[in-house]
Assembly symmetry: C2
Homo-oligomer: 343 residues x 2
Amino acid sequence: MPIGPNSAGSLPTGPARSGTGRSGPTLGESGEFALIARIVADLPPSAEVVLGPGDDAAALAIEPPVLTSVDVLVEGVHFRRDWSSAADVGRKAVAVNVADIEAMGGRAVAVVVGLSAPADLPLAWALELADGIRSEGERAGVTLVGGDVTGARDVTISVTVLGGLDGGPLIRRSGAGSDQVVALTGRTGWAAAGMAVLQRGFRSPRAVVEAQRVPEVPYGQGRVAAEAGATAMIDVSDGLLADLGHVARASGVMVELDLSAFPVPDVLRAVAAATGKDPYALLLTGGEDHALAACFSSADQVPDGWRVVGRTRQIGEDEEPGVLVDGAPWKGAAGWDHFGGGR
Amino acid sequence: MPIGPNSAGSLPTGPARSGTGRSGPTLGESGEFALIARIVADLPPSAEVVLGPGDDAAALAIEPPVLTSVDVLVEGVHFRRDWSSAADVGRKAVAVNVADIEAMGGRAVAVVVGLSAPADLPLAWALELADGIRSEGERAGVTLVGGDVTGARDVTISVTVLGGLDGGPLIRRSGAGSDQVVALTGRTGWAAAGMAVLQRGFRSPRAVVEAQRVPEVPYGQGRVAAEAGATAMIDVSDGLLADLGHVARASGVMVELDLSAFPVPDVLRAVAAATGKDPYALLLTGGEDHALAACFSSADQVPDGWRVVGRTRQIGEDEEPGVLVDGAPWKGAAGWDHFGGGR
């Protein structure tokens, strides 16, 4: 859906950002139709896909309400081609989106993908990206049902996920009451630790570097929490304090975290020591691990695999909804804004 | 959902591509949260939006099958900031996506938008883009229900549309039989004519320039055609010959167009004369007007507002499915590939 034949000739060519070899054809040489044909070949069948890629739109058998969310990953901002493989980027693009559906208590069904890339992107990179989308899709139970491929200077991947509730409840950020327990499943601080070592030119500890490349999303736990009675839920993308801050403000409550509920994994302690960071800053403000945080009316509702990390309480006079750690505001950046602007 | 706090500091700054004044704050100065807050403020209510922007995912009351499609618009490839206003770009991004839902016989309900932009993008531009998304959404009956804003060198807008069939039939590209009529509603060649004059530095004729900036999608006609018995349908995004070629190959038929069914509008004749183009090349190969083309079993099924432009027939021996114009292959580019590669 580009502006005209001449724009193909003026397709921007990206700078060489990585050491990727130039053997093999580029996206420009093979053309978008060739890429799309190879991406959609042999897609696994899904009972919920009424019509897959190749028509003007895909059709999905999802009962209402239909859940949807979009995330955009940009080269140089969200990933680097010399830090992550194309398959890692594809897996991450799917995982971060599916986490948003999990956080509503839903089950992700399908994704559509918009890929913008320079014409000199190796076709092999694009195909490996598609493999990553597909393999994480298999883990998460989602199918790639459509896409658009277009030229741009940066590699940009936008993934929109669609899912459903299968008759279960929709869990919002705004449902937390006071005197409830706050529980967590999944990891925090690992991806941030991975970023810290990658930024210093290291590739180890491997576990945190891999966590930065592809988050380990606790697939299925969103539904588990919803069925257990979660009153509010969020996916921890920006950092636990930032994301629980969203829950606190949407629900009009104070979230009180207990620092003792956050044992520091050895690998995070090691990274923190080597990089001069506070390990608790990693745990409380590190984003991109896509853990799930939820509130429950009582501790006995908290499902297996979740751990209680705090409580909610009513807002006192002269207080604003927010998050306290051991009774006090956390000192340091509570999260961050994508453009570095004010919150 | 960016890779870490430090990446905000290294957010790329785009080159000055247009004459946009730098008065007023930039996206970087105001921050993504400020932009999102302003975009979603006062969104019109919709009975089909169970949950709008602001949570991990939106929730929509769409009966299955759910239709979805994605299109990506990239600055310098699909639009130029000195040729189109931000509102035009927003309107176009919605219109081209809704056309995909129309082409299935569906009704678009909602869009989610991924915006990537340099930090120095004027906030006013981003807000005007949002206004354009909203105003075209009102024309098309769709609501903006979610988004992601992130940094990048180029302005890239990815729009994913969701819609439904309201119990009507799903019209695919592959359903055309032989001895059927081929009909068209909407314009072809206008956007291509607009591009031709813009590329020569002109801003007139105004009608074609405006058609290039924002397509005039025949909203509602997809459903009309489906109810009238359309056997196959497509949205004309790449050019009529290219898109009917998709129908021909998917359906295994030959499409025979009658050139006499394509009267040349005066404005296209004038642009063709001034730019040295064949007016029929504009009509038959110009993309981006997002007309709808459909096949019907008989001419008396063709709805008001549609005109018959040809017929389908069985493939002969030694023939491949395709499109003929007055009985012969069209000489010239039948469409084009986004990366200039082979088809």
